[in-house]
Amino acid sequence: MPNQLRNLIIVFAIFVGLFLTARHFLVPKTFGDLGHYRADALQYNIDHEKKFVDTTLCSNCHTDISNSKYVGAHKLINCQTCHGAGNKHIENPTINKMEKSSEREFCAKCHAKNLARSSTVIKQVDITKHNIDSKCVNCHNPHSPEIKMAQVASNQNKKDEPAICIMCHDKIDKIKTKGMHKSVPCQSCHGEGLNHIKSPSKSNMFKPSKREFCGKCHGIGIAPKSKGIKQIDLKEHNIENKCIDCHIGHNPLEFK
C-alpha cells in the first residue's frame, strides 16, 4: 500500500472515530427504543397541561344552573363549549372568570340559518329577521332555551303585565319609557298577545300603521277629549304621509 493511501486511511479513521464519539454523546438516551424516535417523547406529549376540565367540577358549585340545564335542549352540551376552558377558573374562581357572551352573534354560531345545517340536528333562525332588537338571552334561557318561553306561557293570565313583553322586547321598552307613550300598555296598540306569547314566530302581533289608528287618540273630533293627549287635525296635518313616517311610534316626539 502506498504511503499516501495509508496516511489517508488514518485521517479517515480519525474522522470516523470522532463521528462515532460525537454520536455516542449526542443521540438521546431513549432514541430507538420503540421506533425511530425518542421514546421519551411519548411521555413529553402526555405531560402537556390540559385546559378543558371535567364538567362535574362545574356542577359541584353551579348546581342550580346544571339542574336547569339537564332538562333542556342544551343538556348534552359541555359547559366549556360556550364558556371556554375551565382550568383557570377552578384554580381561582374569583379572579379567573369564565367566558360569557350574550351577543346575538355568539348564539348565531350554531343557530343562524345556514343551508349546510341540518334542520333535524339544530334549530335555526334567520338572525337578520328574528326579533332583531333583542338579545337572544332575553327570551331564551341559554342553559335551557325553552324554559323562559315556557314561563311566559304559564303566566298568560297576567297578560296585561308589560313585564312579559319586556322579557323579549326590552329595547323597545327602553325607547318607550323615554317618551309620552311610557304609560300606554303594549296591548293598547298591539292588541291581545296570547297567541304570540305561545308561539312568537308563528303568530305576529298587530302592527298599526294607518293614520286613523293614531287618530283614535290624537285626532281632533275623533278622540274623546282627555288632558295631556296632543290633538291633531288629521285633515290638515301633513296629509300625504302616515304618522309613523315621521314619528317613532314608541316615542312619538322623537322623529325618524
Binding site: 454520536r23 417523547a41 411519548l42 413529553y44 397541561e49 352540551i77 359541555n78 363549549t81
Partner: protein, 257 residues
Amino acid sequence: MEKENTKVSSRRDFFKKSGAIAGGLLLVSMLDPLKQIKALAGEKPKGKGAWYGIGVDLEKCIGCGSCAKACKTENNVPKEPFFFRSWVEQYSVTANGVVKVQSPNGGVDGFKQPVLDKEIEKSFFIPKSCNHCAKSPCEQVCPVGATFISPDGVVLVDETYCIGCGYCVQACPYACRYLHPVKHTADKCTLCYHRIKKGLAPACITVCPTGAKIYGDLNDKNSDLVKFIKEHNCTVLKPHLNTKPKFFYNALKEEAE
C-alpha cells in the same frame, strides 16, 4: 389509477428496503447497532393494544367552530389566522357544479349566516385535522425521527428534537401541519394525546355540541368508532394517495374528497 398506486408504493418499498440495507450497513459500524436495527423493523402490528382513529358524522356537524376554537386553547396554538391544528371548512356547490370553499379564520369564530344565494344547491361543513395516517407521509420524510407514529397509532411530533426543516409540512397532503412561529418546530394535532392517555376525550370532541365527532380504538370491536364505521358509509380524504388516513367521515360529498 390502481396501477399508478402500486407503482408508487413499490417505488417507496424499494426505497425503504434499499434505505434499510444501506442503513444497516452503516449502522454495523456504529456504537449500539442492535437498538437501531430493531427500530428499522418498522410498523407495529395492528391487533395488539389500542390503534386510535377519529370519526365525524357530517350530517350532525353544524359548523359552529367550537372544535377549532377549543383546539387553539387546549394546545396553545398561536391565535393568528395562519396556524391550525383543527379547523372547519364550508363547501357550497352551485347548480352547475361550481365549488366554493371558505374557512374564515379556520372557522374559529364560526361562519356568518350566508346571504341567500339561489344558485347554491347544496352546502356542507367539514371539520378537519390531522388524519393520523397509518402510512403517514410526514413521518416517512422526517429526516431526524422527530415525527413518529406512537405505538397506539397517533402521529406525534417531538418538539424537543424537531429541526424545523418543514419537509413534513410539504409532505402532508392535507395541510395539517405548520411551523410554530415561536418554537420554530413542526406542530400538528396530537389527538390530544395528553387527554386520551388519561381517559379524557380530545378537546374538540369534548366541546362538540352535537356529538358529531368521536374518537376511539380501531382494534376494539366495541369502541364507539368501530360501531360508527360499521353503521355508516364512511370515507376518508384523498384515498387515492394511499396514506391510509384514520379520520373517517360519514356522508362526505364527492366535492370534498
